[in-house]
Amino acid sequence: MPSKRCSLERVCFQMTHEIGARIRTRPQRLDGHTRLPHYLERKPGVVRAVLGEYPLPDRSASNPMHAPRTWLYTIEFQGRDVWPDGEGRIYADLFEEYLEAER
């Protein structure tokens, strides 16, 4: 892995969400690159896994040399929370910036 590609400034030294935590997704910058799909915006979910820290794609897409590393989580959504006739469960790997704690 070439080391010259990214300067790795850390946004947070400790992950915000723990396994089992309830979260809600929030929409990202309008029309910019993101890994949060439209159909998962503003949806409630539960943290099922912590996958590590990686450069945030939303920033890396336009500034690969200075993208902050941020925590990546596997989030579990109930199908019925995503679509009116939804069933089962949906799993998506989402970055910390896309999530907020759900009371």
């Binding site: 010259k4 590609r5 029309d31 799909p37 439209h38 159909y39 690969p64 995503v82």
Partner: protein, 89 residues
């Protein structure tokens, strides 16, 4: 919204689930695949820049292009932007 972000939409008809088990249907597609891998490996651009380049296609361009046509579009766009070759190459 970006043209690729159609998950959950019902405007595009049923998904084609047929599978002929061929990774490429034309030799040029395999070449595009290899070129992209090589450019990513040498750090000419990142995967995030590559995806972003595809997502910046207009809706008409995006949906009118095949999967590897979009890859080729992104590669050409990024190589021009990075100055690897000029716009009239």
């Amino acid at each position: 919204m970006r043209p690729h972000d159609i998950g959950g939409s019902d405007r595009f008809g049923a998904i084609d689930t047929s599978d002929d088990r061929q990774p490429f249907h034309h030799e040029w597609e395999a070449r595009v695949f290899a070129i992209n891998r090589a450019l990513l490996a040498r750090g000419t651009y990142t995967l995030d820049e590559f995806r972003d380049a595809i997502e910046r296609m207009s809706a008409q361009e995006y949906h009118g292009a095949s999967y590897y046509e979009r890859w080729l579009y992104a590669i050409e766009t990024l190589l021009a932007r990075k100055g690897v070759f000029s716009d009239d190459a």
